[in-house]
Amino acid sequence: MLKKIAVVTAAVVLMFVFALSGCGTAIEGDRVDETARSGGKQQEQQEKSAEPVVLRLEGGDWGFPQPYTRYSRGPGNARVNYIFDKLIEKDEKGFIPWLAQSWEISEEGKKYIFNLVENAKWHDGEPFTAEDVVFTFSYLKKYPPVSPVEAFMDDTFLLEVKALSNYQVEFNFAAADPNLFENLSSVYILPQHIWSEVDRPDEFTAEEAVIGTGSYTLTDYNKEHGTYRYEAFRDFWGLEPAVDVLEFIPVSDPVLALEKGDIHCASIPVDALSRFENDPKYTIIQRPGFWGYRLRFNMEKVPVFKVKEVRQAFAYAIDRQDLVDKTARGAAVAGSLGVLPPDHRWFNPNLPKYERDIERAKILLKEAGLEGQNLQFELLVGEDTEVRIGEVIKEHLSDIGIEIKVVSTEMKTRDSRIAEGNYQLVLVGHGGWARDPNYLGERFTGGDRGDWSDGTPGYFNVQVEELAGRLRSEIDEAVRKEITMELQQVLAEDVPEISLYLTTGYDVFRNDIHDGWMHVFDHHMMEHNILSFLIR
């Protein structure tokens, strides 16, 4: 009996092994010297400068890396970014010319003429021209990519894109758009000669679907293993790639994988940092705080939240630094009541700090006429860390007599309830805090749009409406900065929501393999920026 079981099992297992060993990969390219792969040899090869630099990073499947098939969650966008270029890029300070090398602005910001780079080639050798840009902008109106830019899909806003010559393209808008560069830096330019025939872009995973003008070409992608392999594109029009081969491989534990040399850069929890601190081959970098948690009030459902003093009392009672210490183990920066995070380029440092002050909070509740009243609210949170944050907030608020019931739901359920405005208080975490301050307007103005994902139900403030309105149309950067400073002042006084904290985790990288890591001005992940992989 036992023997039979053993024989049958062995046969079935062998069958699977044979079947699995035949599993292929999507795209196969020429191999760079395979010996470059073993960690120990990397260093030697670095020294012999002729050898290729192979950089390995944490993988995972984030979709086939073209703009229509990458996944809507996670770093899929970065995987596309290595292959495709945009008209505008970003560096540490702001927007920089990319495929668009220079531009002229006229008609008060409604007309842009972009002069394009003239030596760019697609990975298949075809020349890149203005026609590709014109094609891309008409294609995305027809087929929205995974990360759509609404402004460019709106015919009443983007009136016309036309080629003036092979390397000059004109954009005509119905109105000036202060977010134009941010939007342009999100649109990947597609090759017309390949995509003009594609009518199901979300199913387009042929080899030519990953032909871009970018600095890297995709040579291998495996969906079930979550692996990607890129090689430097030798005919890249711009800066020279600093890494010859970029590989993404599955990782079980980033700390162990980095220590073992399986990967060369990883996000490391604070508790494990000491393992890398004293070794000269590792460099530790702290991320800017651009991913954060917000506590939001539903003023429509709970009218008492319309009273400014109540919201201020919340702000004085909740100790944000305590939250950072207890729930983020110190790897975060407390939020500002002016909402824009301290690492934002237009952060206003001269705002009321709202340090914890129980007495002040109690006085504010008294001023609101709520002294001695039974104040009970439901706080909707997600899972794991958010439950802990919710519990700490509950503890803080109980000191001023406010009773909080923490209700935990799974993430998607919580998101839907936010969109429906079905909550009293909600805790939510997301990225994008370093974007253009226009998002302040999205959060605190506009009334009911039938979708409360980003808005604040029941909130209205004339000053906020006026400043956010000006911010939406003003294109002079200096003036916009001034407005943003003032808007933060108003928000910090009015407290329409409480920015709790922004995570500032640590990345550790092997400096002997690659040392060019950088953060762009509005993003917290180094590996998502193409400039991290180019020699500047």
């Binding site: 079947a19 060993s21 079930e224 990225g431 992940m525």
Partner: protein
């Protein structure tokens, strides 16, 4: 004879109808349950720490609903799901942007490989250790084994996995830390590739085997204990049969009957365990996929995975039924005539 044969035929037809109805209930539940979950497939707003999501406005969500037919009335969606299913089309994944059938087929073999290897190994280990314990009931060998295996079976699979990862993978460097194969490697021969895959599978298989052996061990130990006390064991001894024959033909065969049912029941739990092992070792498989399909509310993918799992469990039950009949002659129909037996 004819009456008996008629009865048997009608019972077979009843069985087929029963399986068909079960299947219909399963696919209807598969369709209904994901849609009953709160949450909108195309609304991505919050993320896990440091995670980025592509946010869609109300209009864009509407666009995707139209594109994937989610704006149509539910009954229309249901019938078109049934129609597609009849044609073998499991739909197109909203999130993974690929045919559900392709996605599942690419990952299922990895999970099956883990699950079947672990199940085979745990059955073998469970039977060997369980019978060893039963023969040595009351002695120290039994107590040591019993304590050790009960403790192991109570430790969650992911903890066992982590311990193995840190000890055997990172500490001793005997096994790779993650994945199912060395990526981007060129193998000299298919045997090298197979050896590499087995090397990668070792820790996840060991994890699952360790967490499953305890249950089988206990079952065999108890079942064999009961059988050893039976009168026919005494008869066998009295007949002067050899000890090995008594142990393996008389005792063990009878003791293993409950194991068949147990294996079929365990299949579901084993797939649960596989999810954890896949997560710990970043091993490709259906487990991790199932989790993310639910998280992102990818209806076609949820439907597809649960369909495959449900069919898998149904088939396992049928096989257990058949195996039980094979091992235990008492469950076969009474011998009416030779033709009856042939039909069976």
């Amino acid at each position: 004879m004819d009456i008996l044969r008629g009865k048997k035929r009608s019972s077979s037809i009843f069985r087929v109808v029963e399986y068909f109805l079960t299947f219909l209930v399963i696919i209807s539940l598969n369709f209904a349950l994901p849609r009953m979950m709160p949450g909108e497939p195309f609304l991505h707003y919050s993320g896990e720490v440091d995670e980025l999501v592509a946010f869609y406005s109300k209009e864009q969500i509407q666009y995707y609903h139209e594109y994937y037919g989610l704006d149509r009335p539910l009954h229309e969606q249901y019938f078109s799901y049934l129609k597609d299913l009849a044609e073998g089309d499991l739909g197109f994944s909203y999130y993974y942007k690929e045919n559900v059938r392709t996605i599942i087929l690419r990952r299922l073999p990895w999970t099956m490989f883990l699950v079947i290897s672990a199940m085979g190994l745990s059955i073998i280990a469970g039977i060997i250790l369980g019978s060893y314990s039963a023969w040595h009931r009351g002695k120290w060998q039994d107590s040591v084994l019993y304590t050790a295996l009960v403790v192991f079976s109570e430790i969650p699979a992911f903890l066992v996995g982590l311990a193995l990862l840190i000890w055997l993978g990172a500490g001793l460097g005997l096994f790779p830390l993650a994945g199912a194969a060395t990526h981007f490697a060129n193998y000299d021969s298919i045997w090298d590739k197979i050896a590499d895959m087995l090397h990668h599978a070792a820790l996840p298989v060991l994890t699952l085997t360790l967490s499953r052996t305890g249950g089988i061990y206990l079952l065999v130990r108890n079942s064999l204990g009961t059988v050893l006390a039976k009168d026919y064991m005494l008869t066998a001894r009295a007949k002067g049969l050899k000890e090995l024959r008594i142990r393996y033909v008389y005792a063990l065969r009878n003791a293993l009957m409950p194991l068949c049912t147990r294996i079929a029941i365990q299949l579901g739990a084993l797939i649960g365990g596989a999810i954890l092992a896949e997560n710990v070792f970043s091993y490709p498989g259906i487990g991790v996929l199932m989790r993310s399909a639910v998280v992102v509310r990818d209806y076609p993918l949820i439907q597809g995975i649960f369909l495959v799992l449900a069919v898998g469990v149904m088939v396992a039950n049928m096989l257990a039924d058949l195996a039980y009949k094979y091992i235990d002659p008492r469950t076969r129909p009474a011998v009416i005539g030779s033709r009856e037996m042939e039909e069976f």
